[in-house]
Symmetry: C2
Subunit: 425 residues, 2 copies
């Protein structure tokens, strides 16, 4: 283990993050399970990329079958790309009828911001102050954790607004958030940069997935539209049925975005991502920018992505997300009744978690405690993580086939760990 | 066919390029061959992405074997990533000993430019006026064909210099090019932006791969170093043995770059790419920027990339590139003695071509003729393309297992097409 860590640092450089104080050396995966090099089995409650399960046979078979027949780029005609885009756009509102396929969600968001510039002729972007949308030079500026002085000065185009936080900020219907967006729009216009786009994850997953009433984004979408701006929903994490009630989380929030970006779960780990938008926006982008992506939309990627849709449909995994998510919230609420450190329980389909606080009244974040819990769970054979502005909320986001038995194991172990982990050290 | 084209335009938007006036609908690939939907077989003299051959069994088997066992991200420990980076960096000069793996060459170049900014604290980039380095917002500005008014104003950071052209510009040892670089460095410094990096393909492949004496880049590298700038070699096209004489084209050019970017052939079509650099530069990048790539360096990508190295080695494909390339140049020179339209023959390992001119004295480019030849070759069952500033040079860049019989078929067909295609219409 020390040897592997030393080799990583020598070969990959410093600050290459690993999970856990005691990193896991994973060698095998199957469904919701992974195994380490010593043969120990872990329940995966974290990974959303293997959306239909680690090494899902349908997806692996599709990749292998296509890789043996043809893998080339989109300058030749190929039906699979068209069949996939047709099926993918069929899951969206009618207006969202065209797509570009890329390899990563970062590439998708990078395109979306250029689409917004092409349409509006302006460059001012709005994002929340606790978000992450990817790693290209432009897109990395949407994360406040990046150092604004580096990165070709692109930070000038971004205004960050208060991330929603249903536990601390009273905004059940999204009006406060909409007003913050409005102020940022006005500031962009006043500065001369002009307002181009609001980019958000519809579930605000990195922000700690606050509880929100249905239609929470409607007031915001109206402000963006009034200002002739573009609403970009980054569904890299929230999409493909994870929210349980809908296939896309923006549908739950009651809005039709101008642009939707997709990624992580799309190919179950195969590098495929994309941008879905209206024909008019696609036309303006494709007129303003020459865009070609060598690997984007290749037949193997499309085969992987198509198999993910098949698997979601045939196993009815969106319904499973709704069912298990509801049960998870009940479990967490029961734990909250016995563990004072749980200040709030949040859940949206197959993404759920508990926010830890030192005190229920002051709501002071128990961030170090959350870190201890995450590490203790790893020692108990359960993989999960933490997120949110204070990094004090459990991030539980398992593969979609996660079932009742898996949930019981998770909750029993969490109960034990919460009982055994000191809140203050 | 018309149906497929109509579906493409509806689902993907306008300006999604296809090759040939009569696009090819490819359904199968094997080695240097592809087949269309009607069962017609084509000799692939164009595609460098399937570097070790379409559907190479060793690579496909490696992908399938790993995809069945585990595909996850680099926040867990995994030996394959380390084994691959160790082997990859082992093919470089000792100073180039660390790497980041990404999914696309665009992502790699985007990182390289940020590395340069992190090291120099400056943002001025130099590229040639006939190049292409990828499609992110930042990187797309390196292509002059992009409209400078859009793209978040990043065009301000780029100065374009005259691309080398051994047929028209007398610069056998690279001194003229180095002086142009020097002037651009001074202009960047004078403007206040400051000089950060020169980014070039060591073979200048998009520019038309001019003939260059060994060590051609040395004077340029010295100027960059004197100015405390960063030399980035984009080896996305030129690397992995294609140039025949060396594994990396910069080695042929007699320089050790600060940063090397890799892509297309690295995984034989599986989306994997990367950046190789010195530890000191990696440290500065990783300190200045947080960087994580969800799919980058995943075990399946590493398995594919490792199998490509195995295949190159076991079949000695670099030597094949040197041998076939030399024979191709001889063939093309012979054709040039009989076809006045060939103004110049160029070759560097397994990339070769002929530049077409209307007149040997004026060297007026025969661009439309080149286009007719490319389309006529496609009708004869040979896939190739054209490139260079005037798009009048044949781009012949087959998979590395391309053999003597393949070369004979290519040259016999080219001879026929050159005889039958009118130079003026």
């Amino acid at each position: 283990m020390e040897d592997l860590i030393a080799r990583r640092s020598a070969l990959l450089g410093p600050n290459v993050s690993t999970f856990y104080d005691d990193p896991v050396h994973i060698v095998r995966g199957d469904g919701v399970w992974v195994w380490d090099a010593q043969g120990r089995k872990y329940l995966d409650c974290y990974n959303n990329v293997p959306h239909v399960g680690h090494c899902n046979p349908r997806v692996v078979d599709a990749i292998c079958a296509q890789a043996r027949v043809l893998n080339t780029h989109t300058r030749y005609l190929h039906e699979l790309l068209l069949d996939y885009v047709e099926r993918l756009t069929g899951t969206f509102d009618a207006a969202l009828d065209t797509a570009i396929l890329t390899c990563t969600g970062s590439e998708a968001n990078d395109i979306a911001l250029r689409m917004a510039e092409a349409v509006t002729g302006k460059r001012g972007i709005i994002a929340t102050d606790a978000t992450y949308h990817g790693n290209t030079t432009l897109v990395s500026h949407l994360s406040r954790s990046n150092i604004p002085e580096v990165g070709y000065g692109m930070g000038d185009f971004v205004r960050h607004i208060e991330a929603p936080d249903s536990y601390r900020i009273d905004d059940p219907d999204g009006h406060r958030f909409a007003e913050n967006v409005q102020r940022a729009i006005e500031a962009h216009e006043k500065s001369g940069i002009g307002f181009s786009a609001l980019i958000i994850c519809p579930l605000f997953l990195n922000e700690g997935f606050p509880a929100q009433n249905p239609g929470w984004l409607k007031p915001t979408a109206e402000r963006v539209k009034q200002a002739s701006g573009i609403l970009i929903c980054d569904e890299v994490q929230s999409g493909f049925g994870r929210c349980g009630s809908h296939f896309w989380a923006h549908q739950k929030q009651g809005v039709v975005p101008d642009i939707v970006c997709l990624g992580k779960p799309m190919g179950n780990g195969h590098p495929v991502a994309g941008v879905v938008t209206q024909s008019e926006i696609m036309d303006q982008f494709r007129t303003a920018f020459r865009y070609f992506n060598t690997f984007g939309g290749n037949p193997v990627s499309c085969a992987a992505a198509m198999a993910v849709l098949d698997e979601l449909e045939s196993k009815d995994l969106q319904a499973n997300a709704a069912k298990i998510g509801k049960m998870a919230a009940d479990h967490l609420n029961e734990l909250a009744s016995r563990h004072q450190v749980i200040g709030d329980v949040r859940q949206s389909g197959m993404v759920f978690g508990a926010e830890f606080v030192l005190d229920q009244t002051s709501k002071s974040p128990a961030s170090k405690f959350a870190n201890r819990v995450v590490n203790a769970m790893r020692q108990e054979g359960i993989l999960l993580s933490k997120l949110g502005r204070h990094k004090n909320t459990l991030k539980i986001r398992p593969p979609m086939p996660f079932d009742e038995a898996n949930l019981d194991q998770l909750m029993t172990t969490l109960d034990k760990v919460l009982s055994e982990t000191p809140v203050l050290v």
